[in-house]
Symmetry: D2
Subunit: 268 residues, 4 copies
């Protein structure tokens, strides 16, 4: 039916992928089509599609690939994920645009500004947290940010903030430096070292009110051994974190990730 | 000092490896030396070494590579790990000798016996468990078994059994079908599927009284995706389990594993 | 059109997957459907489908999942791949049936026969090769074998043999103990060691007249280091070879592999 | 003997590692020791050690960890490896100092200069190559550069240049975007796509006069499938190239790499 709708309006399907979750009985489909020759204007597509979507009780989301979603990055002191992401945008490897960077410390201010990206310093203490989250929310709203990336941001965003940003239509990706659900919370490499694991990992997931428990988008691992100290795990993990976070951000910005039931479908 | 002792007695060091755990201040060393030309008889080596070991407060263990440790394998219905291990012994890839196989079901009896290895059926219920563990202990003692391998044995051995077998000088390796410490306990693939992880793993560890919490010897992982059902995870995991368990058993039988503080040093 | 044809005849599509090779302009599709309620008898399906397939100039292949393709395994002295495959069939993990094993040595005869599978000894010298390949061809024909698996068979099958077996409708999968196209031909682990690579691999591919150059079905790798001797590479490689070969054989027997232009499409 | 020499002069061994290549009969050792309390001045250590080294016919190299080797980076248009390396230096993850960047195009000039690192534009044509290599050699000499990193530099350095820079005591690390020795030379991802491999890789090695044939320092791989176009391989490969090159550069700058017989020992 989706293909028919597109064909009847003169569209040309470039790529289509589907998936059925047999257990919960949900069908997922992602259709990429070209607007060249399409006989509906952009704002009329969704209304015209309403009949089809009503018939199958679909949740529909329509994105245009020439839209350029704004992204904000949160960081603290460790810069590898931030450098990596900004580098990718700078050389044109990632969709979207970095709108600004927010740090609760100023360590990464100079680097950010050297690439002509605004840096906001929002230091957070127990007392100032609600106030600072409010400021952040306003910055996000003002810039029209759709995606927040927590690039080793060592603070927990409140459920209140998460709810409000979600209402604005925003989503948040976090990188956790362990192979979740192993070692959630603080100091995962220290935990991993104490447990004596032979492999460590990194996990990029959507942030939810439950700490380190949101839908997983991307994971990767690297072997370690008894010779590796906590410092070695941290060093080896950094490369993982960069690559895993970038992988998740890219998939999200290419509209290839669907989340449901605290899981994700990541289309290819 | 170790090298001196060996050299002074005419021994020849073939391989030596050491490791220092800086945090707890323990020094580990594994020295392989040839007895050709050695001027001490086997049973006199440890007493003669006593002075050195006392001086440095060493824990010393001396093994002869022509000894052939006896191994018992516990299984239930799933045969892949058992087939794999017996195949490796049959073609001479593993040290030691499989003394016998114990199953709480009889599914794997025929295959075991086709390779001329004794199979004992010890069905376990809540009531019969102590009694059956007693029988098992006697079988192990009678055959002089030093290593028990739980090859997807879907029963938990009691702390009492573990303690007694340890007193006999025995050790137990278990394969858990997840990337521990993620998903301990029952149905790890089902748990992994529900959590929506993008990678699953397998972990071989020494069994301790704390379920799935013993020192990890070997781990490996494989990528999965949203298309993989629980059955797919089980299938993909089987190959991991075989290889990870065999890796741990080989390392153990080659006396390359030292466990301390609920961790392992695995020498190469 | 394919879906329409199935639907109109009362069939129910269970799984469908497609792929387009944009460069050469070929479209691939694999459709699994249930015959329950299908209103065409098995032998009438292909003729009835003729119209559709003619229209799109399709190459069509129809397989029934309750057919049980016969498989022959060729081996020499090294048994790990043979043991692994026979074990998988024995415990019901693989489609098809092992019809017989052929060895140019008798090392693996006892194990094969212990599982009640016939073993044929066909020793090969330069002189006897044509004659022995003839015997093999007759054995394959007599047993109705569709797939030959070279499980570390250290002989090269002649182009003549390959051609004749292909005419009988047969296909041949080989495991090469390197990450092809690196290190084709003899002693790949020795070559790898000399080159000082940091990773070694294994490759399962369809055998063609060009040595180690057929379409690749499956590959995997493992890390090695300067401490690893050739013997270590051989040992580490064995586990790879087993798993990679089994993966390729499984995909083939589940009719998930399409080969074209010396490449493969491996559906999931 | 090495340990004795250090101990007798009041030094304290921090880390020691050895390796024996049994085939060629070479023994390698790397000893890290602290100069705190050492009773020889820096320039007197090697002469004093002469007796020991003569006795065992050692090749000895002595490096001080507070020396800060100068590094030059060569690049063309693709910036991911350059960005990644400069980022690592900027945030203090790598030893050494980037002295300058040379490009045969100017695409990466702005980014380099935004981090306050000099950029030299040395365009290369068949005619100007000797002259430009001469200029490069002078730049390297003037800045006292010890390591040149070819960060996706799409030019081949002449044997003449390699010889002269080696005479100055310099070494050169190149990243090749394939799993060598598979797919040497131009367009490895295109070659890999045509061959239909299921895994692609990246290789960091010392540059020698023989193209893509120098001693391998680091390698890594990533899975690909029939859905991946050449563009997908390029994208997936970029993350590999960054991480593999950085790994090799780090090991080199920490003096952990020894090369001999066109191989490397990479100490941990």
């Amino acid at each position: 039916s989706v293909a028919d709708f597109i064909a009847q309006n003169g569209g040309n399907i470039i790529h289509a992928e589907q998936h059925t979750d047999q257990e919960v009985g949900i069908f997922f489909q992602r259709v990429e089509f070209s607007l060249g020759g399409f006989n509906l204007e952009r704002e009329k597509i969704l209304p015209a599609f309403g009949e089809v979507s009503k018939k199958f009780k679909m949740n529909v989301s329509l994105k245009f690939s020439d839209e350029n979603p704004k992204v904000a990055i949160l960081c603290t002191k460790e810069g590898h994920c931030l450098y990596d992401l900004l580098g990718r945008w700078h050389r044109g490897e990632l969709d979207g645009t970095p709108a600004f960077v927010v740090g609760n410390h100023t360590d990464l201010k100079n680097y950010t500004e050297s690439l002509d990206i605004p840096f906001h310093h929002l230091p957070v203490s127990k007392e100032t947290k609600p106030e600072q989250e409010d400021k952040l929310l306003k910055l996000l709203e003002a810039a029209g940010v759709e995606l927040v990336v927590m690039a080793r941001y060592m603070q927990i965003l409140s459920a209140d903030f998460l709810g409000k940003f979600k209402k604005q239509g925003g989503q948040i990706i976090n990188i956790h430096h362990s192979f979740l659900p192993a070692f959630p919370g603080a100091s995962p490499y220290k935990q991993a070292h104490e447990r004596g694991v032979k492999i460590v990992g990194a996990t990029a997931h959507y942030a939810t009110a439950e700490l380190d428990d949101g839908p997983i988008i991307s994971q990767d691992v690297v072997r370690v051994g008894h010779r590796d100290s906590v410092a070695d795990l941290i060093r080896k993990g950094r490369d993982l974190e960069m690559v895993v976070l970038a992988d998740a951000v890219r998939a999200h910005l290419e509209h290839r990730v669907l989340d449901y039931n605290n899981k994700t479908v990541v289309f290819s």
